[in-house]
């Protein structure tokens, strides 16, 4: 089964033999891909059914909440932390980013871009919260409580003095150019470092 495009990019970018914590690892799909290339991957996941599925696949996953339980990991426990499609669901995304870069010197953070042109159009012309391919759930039941744009995230890391080593932008399943990514990218993946 093919990995989700943002996960495939992360799986490709993580060096072999590194130690990785996948925060919000779901049923362990990315972890399996990482293990297959020799990465020592551990997971944190809030949903017990997903945790059970991941452990049943032989992965090391702890049931826990990214808002609270990252505190249990020591400093520099990993080489990379991964937070894919989860930042916008956390209570304090800024503090979660701090935690990621405490437990690992580098982190992959991916999120749907709230400034994509479809979102802009939905707001501008429809006057309603957008329901799009990358933001598919209505405002009243979405887990996304902190919508974020590519520019917002760049502002956050700049303000915190966090380095950006690399950025990937996706439109649908395909990479899109960095030019005008603010409105053309549906998803962004940042590789950030202390």
């Amino acid at each position: 089964m093919a990995l989700r495009p943002d996960l495939a990019i992360i799986a490709d970018a993580v060096p072999t033999t590194s130690r990785v914590l996948d925060v919000g690892c779901g049923d362990g799909e990315l972890m399996v891909a990482l293990r297959n290339k020799g990465v020592d991957a551990r997971g944190l996941e809030i949903d017990p059914a997903n945790v059970t599925a991941a452990i049943a696949r032989g992965q090391s996953v702890v049931q826990g909440d990214a808002n609270r339980d990252l505190a249990d990991y020591p400093d520099d426990a990993f080489d990379y932390a991964i937070l894919s499609q989860t930042l916008q669901t956390t209570e304090r995304p800024d503090m979660v980013v701090d935690e990621l870069l405490r437990i690992a010197p580098r982190a992959f953070v991916s999120f749907p871009n709230f400034a994509h042109w479809r979102v802009r159009l939905a707001l501008l012309w429809g006057g309603r919260m957008p329901v799009t391919r990358s933001i598919p759930i209505a405002w009243y039941e979405t887990p996304n409580i902190h919508h974020v744009t590519v520019s917002d995230f760049r502002d956050l890391v700049r303000a915190k003095g966090i380095g950006v080593e690399r950025v990937w932008h996706l439109s649908g399943d395909r990479p899109t150019s960095d030019a005008a990514a603010s409105w053309r990218a549906e998803h962004a993946i940042f590789l950030i470092s202390r």
Partner: protein
């Protein structure tokens, strides 16, 4: 009853080497009764040790010799089961201090041949684990694919990882804890006092007499049994329903179904368990605190165990060994960098959930054992 129980023949080995105990005393030799299932492979790398709970025994997947009932984990252990005896060589040993063939208070004094009773030394969970390691030495098994246990079996599993971190690849700990809480100790003390208050206990020297403290042991079991169930489970199973009658008796018969059930559980238990063994094993559990030798830092117990793959499971209705105790272990493991998995499963049966039909547990056990094999 106790005399009948002690007449049963068990498969056992007597190892003529001394076992130094945590108490400072020494057992001059150790008898360990055990069962095994499935073939040991040529390089002896597929052995799985199952550690049983307080009132469990080595008959994990075979009929109990006293009761005739199926093994206590027959649903989990066997060909094609989550602990697959087509793949694994499964060993389950009766714990030190118990009454199913291993050295315990009913064992004979070496000098007189009379049952030791209270002269048997107080033992600990770590002592039980050391005795199991002696059995594995005897069997020529240097390293285990996994150690698995629920409740007190989970305590032994954690003690295995702390004591012999190089002798196991993975540890599966279900509905357990790294220490006994004040509440755990308190419930055990109620059970012990019930036994010792029974005049038939006779300071533990009842083996040769016609009287055994079955009443006290039954009360101990009744009290303990309540702690193994959830309130929700008891309510669903019995509610306030009356037992074989339409109206209250206004007396002290077992009017309620729950009373009748508990009386039956208590009485049936005395057919298969020895009162002194109950005293010794509950004491061992009460003394259990893995952090104690490390100035209260649980992580210290796992400092050498970071290459062991741990899986911990708790149940949301288990108030005896609650999720918070499993989380405490997970936090200690994370702080030493050990590969740890943890999940809290939802099941209605309280602490006993680990013995009952919880399909998610089957998947977890199979997954935890399958990896790295």
């Amino acid at each position: 009853m106790a005399s009948l129980l002690h007449d049963i023949q068990h498969h056992s080995v007597t190892i003529a080497a001394p076992l130094p105990l945590d108490s400072g005393q020494v057992l001059p030799s150790v008898t360990i009764a055990y069962q095994n299932y499935g073939a040991l492979n040529a390089d002896k790398s597929n052995a799985v040790l199952i550690c049983h709970a307080l009132t469990g025994d080595q008959y994990v997947a075979s009929d109990h010799p006293a009761t005739g009932k199926p093994g206590w984990w027959a649903r989990m252990v066997g060909p094609g089961k989550p602990i697959d005896t087509d793949r694994f060589h499964v060993i389950c040993a009766n714990v030190l201090g118990s009454c199913m063939g291993s050295s315990g208070p009913a064992s004979p004094d070496a000098a007189t041949g009379a049952p030791l009773g209270m002269a048997f030394p107080v033992i600990t969970i770590a002592d039980m684990v050391r005795a199991q390691a002696m059995l594995l030495d005897h069997l020529g098994i240097a390293r285990l694919h996994a150690v698995v246990g629920g409740s007190m079996g989970g305590m032994q599993t954690l003690a295995w990882a702390a004591t012999y971190p190089d002798r196991l690849a993975s540890a599966l700990v279900i509905a357990s804890a790294a220490r006994h809480s004040a509440q755990n100790i308190a419930f055990h003390e109620v059970g012990r006092q019930a036994i010792m208050a029974d005049p038939d206990w006779q300071d533990g020297q009842y083996y040769g007499s016609a009287r055994a403290p079955t009443k006290g042991l039954a009360v101990a079991r009744m009290a303990a049994h309540i702690t193994y169930l959830s309130e929700e489970g008891l309510t669903e199973k019995f509610g306030r329903r009356l037992q074989a009658r339409d109206i209250k008796s206004f007396g002290f018969d077992a009017d309620f179904q729950v009373e009748s059930y508990l009386r039956h559980q208590g009485l049936a238990f005395t057919d298969r368990f020895d009162a002194n063994a109950y005293l010794y094993i509950t004491r061992a559990m009460d003394y259990f605190d893995l952090a104690d030798p490390h100035d209260g830092r649980l992580a210290g117990a796992f400092a050498a165990a970071k290459d062991v793959r741990f899986t911990l499971v708790s149940f949301d209705t288990d108030w005896l060994y609650p999720t918070s105790e499993s989380r405490r272990v997970v936090q200690a493991l994370q702080s030493v960098g050990a590969a740890a998995s943890f999940v809290e499963l939802s099941a209605p049966f309280g602490h006993d959930s680990f013995l009952l039909d919880v399909p998610a547990l089957d998947r977890l056990v199979a997954g935890a054992l399958g990896s790295g094999f």
